[in-house]
């Protein structure tokens, strides 16, 4: 007897329907074959399904079983087809009766040998797929079901094990449907480091506020131990929370990557990714034969922090250029062409020189000028050109800080940032982007009119520092954000002058 069920395959962030056809032949030698470009994990489904069925108290038919996963030319991988295959076999062998539940639903989940259904990645996308294709019911692993709870218009059944699912299909013991999460209370996210915990470094904190408010990329340079990493970790705490639409977008990426912890529905905190400098280009951009998202996509709408940026391989840094420009990363592999969103704020930290102590008040720097130049040349070029803010984080002499009142807390800072972002959203409503950092030159001309005195200062700065055209526009963009932070409608001299503090210190522009 032949049975057809529906499941889902993911190609990047899009989902494709997969028909799982199971045939238990009346004649022929006993056997179990899976066809349809099944990957290794799908091939192995035979053993998992066989054992799971037996351990669930049912009988595995000693007949010729053929499973076809259609479309035949789409590569399929992962354990998510275990559940539809198992149900298919039970129906095809007559142990379950065919009914609407079986034919009109999506089954998705990996089986354990005991018959338990294990958490499986990509459940959120299954829910979105079902909604789009007007499929009413989905059966997904209990551990991952929460992901789909935010989607309205579908019924989500969290499946604990195969035996429960059979009970549900037979109608003897229906599984309770998952309650749809309305609006989760946005509990204050736990902030790893509060800005007020970090003593001194007023300028770096100010630069971070500007970066957060205007979506600018930020480079911090300073000696080891100055607090660069700690400052970086405080950045997520001053970023505005994700909007519901943004949260869904981010959660989709994490769902596909299988990085959502069990029971999570939507992510609320902006992602903060901190890859080690040993990372490969495929790791940062995304890769694999069915490409999975890389760090740039996992940092989507959040922060990508590159500590010791000069230590990253050139190829990795170069590969950041395209996503930084487009906000999307396209990965091409033999079997697939996939795009993932990758719109992130780059936060980079570097030492000022190879030994790290250049400009240190107490410790001598043991590098020659030539070594310093060479070290910096590793960073120069296109990536630095895309970083609007450069700030020096000096080492702090603790005795100078004693008795200092704590600075503003992350919470206050965050409110300022949110207010400033609102101003920008309003300004760019017709332009299709959100922050000052995304302005192109024509927008700069349109939104950043400068009065005579401000223009004079800017011109003087261009001459003094020999700024490139790109550096010129960068300055104006930063000045725009500083003006917005102050709530000023026009850029004033003081805003432009402050922006000058954050121009590139790395030499090239």
């Amino acid at each position: 007897m032949l049975v057809k069920l529906t499941s889902v395959a993911h190609v990047g962030l899009s989902s494709v329907p997969v028909d799982v056809e199971v045939d238990v032949a009346a004649q022929g030698f006993p056997g179990f074959t899976v066809v349809g470009l099944a990957g290794k994990a799908v091939e192995e489904a035979r053993e998992r399904v066989k054992t799971a069925i037996t351990n669930s108290g049912m009988e595995f038919p000693g007949k010729k079983i053929t499973v076809n996963l259609a479309p035949a030319d789409l590569p399929k991988d992962g354990g998510a087809y275990d559940l539809p295959i198992a149900i298919g076999i039970l129906v095809a062998s007559g142990q379950l009766l065919v009914n609407d539940t079986v034919t009109n639903a999506v089954f998705y989940g990996e089986l354990g040998l005991s018959g338990d259904v294990r958490p499986t990645k990509g459940v959120l996308l299954v829910g979105l797929f079902a909604k789009k294709h007007k499929i009413k019911e989905i059966f997904v692993p209990q551990g991952s079901a929460a992901e789909a709870s935010v989607i309205d218009g579908i019924t989500v059944y969290p499946v604990k094990n195969l035996r429960d699912l059979m009970g549900h299909v037979m109608g003897s013991a229906p599984i309770a449907r998952l309650k749809r999460k309305k609006k989760e209370k946005t509990e204050d996210d736990v902030v790893e480091f509060d800005l007020s915990e970090i003593a001194g470094q007023e300028q770096a904190k100010r630069a971070m506020t500007i970066a957060a408010a205007g979506g600018h990329n930020l480079l911090m340079s300073g000696p080891p131990g100055a607090g660069k990493t700690m400052l970086a970790r405080a950045l997520p705490g001053i970023l505005p929370p994700l909007t519901p639409a943004e949260a869904l977008e981010v959660t989709r990426i994490y769902s596909v990557a299988g990085l959502l912890s069990s029971g999570t529905s939507l992510m609320h905190a902006r992602p903060f990714r901190n890859p080690h400098h040993g990372i490969s280009a495929a790791g940062i951009i995304g890769g694999g034969s069915n490409p999975s998202p890389g760090e740039v996509s996992l940092a989507h709408l959040g922060v990508l922090f590159l500590d010791e940026m000069a230590e990253f391989p050139r190829s990795v840094l170069e590969s950041l250029r395209q996503p930084m420009e487009d906000g999307v990363v396209s990965i091409v592999r033999v079997g697939a062409h996939v795009s993932y969103p990758a719109s992130f704020t780059l936060l980079a930290a570097v030492n000022p020189c190879p030994c790290g102590y250049l400009g240190h008040p107490k410790r001598p720097c043991s590098c020659s000028e030539k070594q310093v130049r060479k070290y910096r040349s590793r960073l120069s070029g296109p990536i630095l050109d895309r970083i609007d803010l450069h700030v020096i984080v000096p080492s702090v002499e603790t005795e100078k800080l004693s008795g200092q009142a704590g600075s503003v807390s992350s919470k206050t800072m965050r409110e300022t940032v949110i207010r400033t972002r609102k101003i920008q959203e309003k300004r760019f409503a017709a332009d299709g982007f959100y922050t000052n950092s995304q302005m192109k030159n024509k927008h700069v001309k349109k939104y950043c009119a400068l009065d005579g005195e401000t223009h004079r200062i800017l011109k003087l700065a261009v001459e003094t520092y020999d700024l490139s055209a790109r550096g010129y526009f960068r300055l104006i963009k930063v000045a725009r954000t500083i003006a917005d932070l102050a709530g000023a409608p026009a850029i004033a001299v003081t805003h432009m002058a402050e922006a000058l503090q954050y121009r590139s210190a790395m030499g090239n522009s």
Partner: protein, 264 residues
Amino acid sequence: MTNIAPPIPRLRDLSSPPKQLYYRGTWDEALFTKCAAVVGSRRMTQYGRMVVEKLVPQLVEAGFTIASGFMYGVDQAAHRECLECGGRTIAVLGWGMNWNGLDREDKNLMEEIEKKGLVLSEWEEQKPALWTFPQRNRIVAAISQELYVVEAAEKSGALITARIARTLKRTIWAVPGPVTSKTSEGTNQLLADNLARMWLPVRGAQKNETAVTNPLVRLLETEPMHASDIARALGEPIDKIGAQLSLLVLAGDVVEREGTFYVS
């Protein structure tokens, strides 16, 4: 283009003058009439840079040509500062004229020097080696009437230059440095042993009124500081201080290096 230099009278003071001297640039006797050497450590600190920025303009103002050894650190800073304030400078190389191990920035500097001054070397093809630098130093010492040592560690090329200059009876000046700094041990020792005169900058260089009364400028007169430290010391918000600093730097009242600010 390498040319053979005409004889330089002062080189005859040396017990072993160079047999041959090559040059690039335009030969001008007048360059040697009033010539001061500024030498010092390769590991120049920020203090050293500040000293060069004060010392060299004063020498140029007094009509001196600045001679040095074209090494990174104090030497190159002296060449650069000299060009910046419109002076003429002589670079004596510690390697052959045609050695092509220089990076782009060195080449650019050398071209700038050639425009108005001279690049000298006693070799054509010699690669830099441990012995070539002291050899070069004797020429630096000999062509100048006065020698200024800015930052030199206990054992350094700059002290070798000073020793040669002493045997040649040149006037030697040393710039005192912090006693805690390794790169000032050599210069301070020269002063302690009475082997050099102490150079101090000319006081009372005129500043414009507003800058002098500005509390920020007055604060920076005592020591170089980071923007954050300034904000804390003055109790003002960092955005205001940052804007003020930028304007002061653009006006030329304050200088910024590696994030620290000091009065020019």
